[in-house]
């Protein structure tokens, strides 16, 4: 099997597949860890029971999601070596230390305090427990910092030199870490994680409000989530715009692919809304476009000239159709999320936030929107920098391991089978947990086992058991 296949294509498929599964969990757990810290802080501050109920409710969900993030993440950290060994040899001296710092500052912090956060409330007291929650939340943000720094360095390399062995080495660590695209990517991704979580929390709140508008927990979580969508979605759109301008400066071919600009425009480029990019012909067919708007958005002047892919050698073209469409999916969802936030603001103002059913149905439909937008955004940025792993410097085909196609193909099939078996089951468990409403006297993960082992069925136990089926 796989004789005659291209090992590099298989390795890329494997990376795309395992990465797409992985990114979903950190995107959720970055936002959820912060949300849990906020809930616990509100509980300690106000003493209101509803906050600790919500905390325990989402903590059980966090535990399952975090575990899946950890195991799919270990795969990523070893895949650099197994499938991309040439890349590891050449870039290890620069991005290796960034990833090592991620492990040292983030992974250990998260893992070290996770046990206390999940199971330790009665053992260590409220203050120390809150500290543990805070450390886990901070850990997820540190993790985002380092991994996005190393990804950004691959997109916009800076502060490096090349040694006699052909390896990238650091000339200036601050320039490596704070490379040109990093601040934009960090802000854009962390906001995306917060929005993704808010949409899930909002959808779960909406689901339970549709059944009973008077439940305290769903009301609080729905209101909090809609505030997040209202306030953060517009900021995210602005941040995305700034990120785009930064990309135009440092990775112009990626912008050409996102915009579908095969051709140069001397006096003002149009904004292509939709169309079918044809890579072979170098044209966007059936393009629906608004004249001059592309230059207006990207250069803030309607007549500014814009270079197209016709100025770039063909062997350096990114795959335009994927980049073009994934970008549109991300932007479209971004505006839908803002629409949800605005609608919720209007209903809040009219005092109908918990009664207006169309809003709840809309919020439920938007539950997965954050995940899809995050995936679409990553597909945009990762395919847009092809055919390079280190933009302009190291080609993807020169980065792969010297492995035969059958080896890479077999492991790809194994990962596909295992990921679908394991992670779809995990998602079903998550949905089951979310299908039960948060209950007065909701217990954290520490109480599930004894309640079942002893065969007693207190109220919380019934709900949890019911949810489990």
């Amino acid at each position: 099997m796989f004789e005659g296949w291209d090992a590099v294509v298989l390795a890329r498929a494997q990376f795309a597949f395992t990465m797409s599964f992985h990114i979903v969990f950190p995107a959720f757990s970055i936002g959820l860890a912060s949300y849990l810290a906020v809930l616990e802080a509100l509980w300690l501050w106000t003493g209101r029971k509803v906050f600790i109920n919500l905390f325990n409710y989402w903590l059980k969900i966090f535990a399952v999601a975090f575990g899946m993030g950890v195991v799919s993440g270990i795969v990523m950290s070893y895949q650099f070596g197994t499938n991309w060994s040439a890349f590891s040899d050449k870039t290890g001296p620069v991005i290796g230390p960034l990833m090592a710092y991620e492990v040292l500052t983030a992974f250990f912090l998260e893992a070290g305090f996770l046990g206390v956060m999940l199971f330790g409330l009665e053992r260590v007291g409220h203050k120390l427990h809150f500290l543990a929650t805070l450390m886990v939340a901070i850990g997820t943000l540190f993790s985002a910092f380092w991994i996005l720094s190393s990804n950004s360095w691959m997109q916009t390399p800076a502060g490096y030199a090349i040694n006699a062995d052909g390896q990238f080495v650091a000339a200036d660590w601050l320039q490596v870490i704070f490379n040109p695209s990093f601040p934009y990517r960090l802000v854009h991704m962390v906001l995306a994680a917060y929005l993704t979580t808010a949409l899930v929390v909002g959808a779960v709140g909406a689901y339970h409000l549709l059944r009973d508008q008077h439940l305290a927990g769903p009301r609080v979580m729905f209101s909090m989530a809609m505030w997040m969508a209202t306030l953060v979605a517009p900021i995210q759109i602005l941040a995305g715009d700034q990120h785009g301008l930064n990309t135009l400066e440092h990775q112009p071919t990626k912008i050409m692919a996102m915009e579908g600009h095969y051709e140069s425009h001397k006096d003002g480029a149009p904004l292509i809304l939709f169309g079918l990019p044809d890579q072979a012909a170098g044209k966007v067919k059936y393009a629906v476009e608004i004249p001059k708007l592309g230059s207006l958005i990207l250069k803030h002047s309607p007549d500014a000239p814009m270079a197209g892919l016709d100025t770039v050698p063909r062997e350096n073209w990114p795959p335009v159709p994927i980049t073009f469409w994934s970008f549109r999916i991300m932007v479209g969802l971004g505006f839908l999320i803002m629409g949800l936030g605005l609608l919720s603001l209007w209903m809040r103002w009219r005092g109908k936030l918990y009664e207006f059913r169309p809003l709840h149905l809309f919020a439920m439909a938007m539950g997965p929107a954050g995940f899809i937008a995050v995936l679409a955004g990553w597909i945009t940025t990762e395919t847009g920098r092809q055919p390079f792993t280190v933009y302009g410097l190291l080609r993807t085909v020169e980065s792969a391991s010297p492995l035969a196609a059958p080896a890479v193909g077999s492991s790809l099939i194994i990962f596909i089978i295992v990921y679908f078996a394991v992670f779809t089951t995990g998602v079903i468990y998550l949905l089951r947990l979310m299908a039960a409403p948060p209950h007065p006297g909701e217990q954290g993960p520490s109480h599930d086992a004894p309640a079942r082992a002893a065969g007693i069925t207190p109220a919380a136990g019934v709900v949890v058991e019911g949810a489990a089926r």
Partner: protein, 336 residues
């Protein structure tokens, strides 16, 4: 000014990270290996609860070992990972199954829980076997040309690597059994205690077999261990192994709680030191030394700052987490 050899410092740091990993994840993988011997649900709940709060931190050391190696010895990382392709993929898949089982088995019904119990046991066994095979494959050396691995994807499969794979399964199972002696009570502890006896004898056999087989791999290993004057430095290792074995037998005979686990760890430490003696100064035996594989000095220095500040901190709060969940885990009072 004293010339500091960064490559040696980093070799010790990576070796330390891998050893901490073996110490910490060793016993919890061992619990998975022993899982089929404890069919009662109540016992299994206790076993899972005894590591649930800490397993995640344990596996982070594996990420540090891999990530640290890519950063400090990128050439070795890029040669060894393709050479160990199959065992590495098997290990990752095993770790996925056992990792998610920690949470999944509480979220489901009886029949499905059995499936996750099998995933936990099978995943632990496969991951351990793969790590042991990888160790054997490294020891026997890999085919390098230029800066690349130049062998096939089944080169690692030899009787020797299978022997080290089996040896690690026995070793981790011993750590798991002595962990249960320490953390549980009643009939569960009694069974763990009997298992510890059997596994200790098997472990001694495994150490003996690997020690006898290793010198036959390369003449360098023979000289390293038996040539004069090296033998002055190497002889204390087997002598210490004998000493620790006597203490371990005595602690089992006296049915102590804590001593068997820590003495089993000491056996691991000595075996690990023996491994280091065999390999030094190679990081890919007979092909690439730690100096050839080392990152440029500024990469290693940059990380050294982080390691010297953060690793003590990490060890501190990890110890605190173990302290919070100290003591015996009882039936039905689990903190999962």
């Amino acid at each position: 000014m004293i010339a500091i050899d960064l490559a040696i410092i980093w070799a010790f740091i990576i070796a330390f990270a891998v050893f901490v990993y073996v110490v910490m994840d060793g016993f919890d993988l061992g619990l998975g290996i022993l899982f089929p011997l404890f069919p009662e649900k109540a016992d299994r709940d206790v076993i899972m609860n005894s590591v649930a709060p800490v397993w995640d931190g344990n596996e982070t050391w594996l990420v540090l070992g891999g990530g640290g190696m890519m950063a400090a010895f990128p050439l070795a990382y890029s040669v060894l990972m393709p050479a160990l392709y199959t065992p590495m993929i098997a290990m990752l898949v095993g770790l996925i199954f056992r990792g998610v089982a920690f949470e999944f088995r509480w979220r489901t019904t009886q029949s499905e829980r059995n499936r996750w119990d099998i995933a936990f046991a099978g995943g632990s066994l496969v991951a351990t076997l793969a790590q042991g095979i990888a160790l054997g494959a490294i020891l026997q050396g890999v085919h390098v040309e230029g800066r690349h691995y130049a062998g096939g994807w089944w080169d690692w499969l030899t009787p020797f690597s299978l022997l080290t794979g089996a040896a690690l399964v026995i070793g981790y199972a011993l750590l798991g059994a002595t962990w249960l002696v320490m953390k549980t009570e009643g009939s569960l502890r009694d069974r763990a205690y009997h298992l510890s006896w059997v596994l200790l004898l098997a472990m001694l056999g495994a150490i003996g077999a690997v020690s006898i087989a290793t010198p036959f791999l390369h003449v360098q290993y023979t000289q390293r261990w038996f040539a004069w004057p090296n033998i002055i430095l190497t002889a204390p290792v087997p002598i210490a192994v004998a000493g620790v074995t006597v203490l371990l037998l005595r602690s089992l005979a006296n049915k102590y709680d804590y001593q068997p686990f820590f003495l089993a760890l000491a056996l691991f430490a000595l075996s690990y030191a023996g491994l280091g003696i065999s390999m030094y100064p190679y990081i890919v035996p007979q092909s690439i030394t730690i100096w050839q594989a080392a990152s440029p000095a500024n990469s290693q220095i940059f990380m050294l700052f982080g390691v010297s500040v953060l690793v003590p901190l990490i060890l501190g709060y990890t110890a605190w987490a173990y302290w919070v969940f100290r003591g015996k885990v009882r039936h039905g009072s689990g903190y999962h």
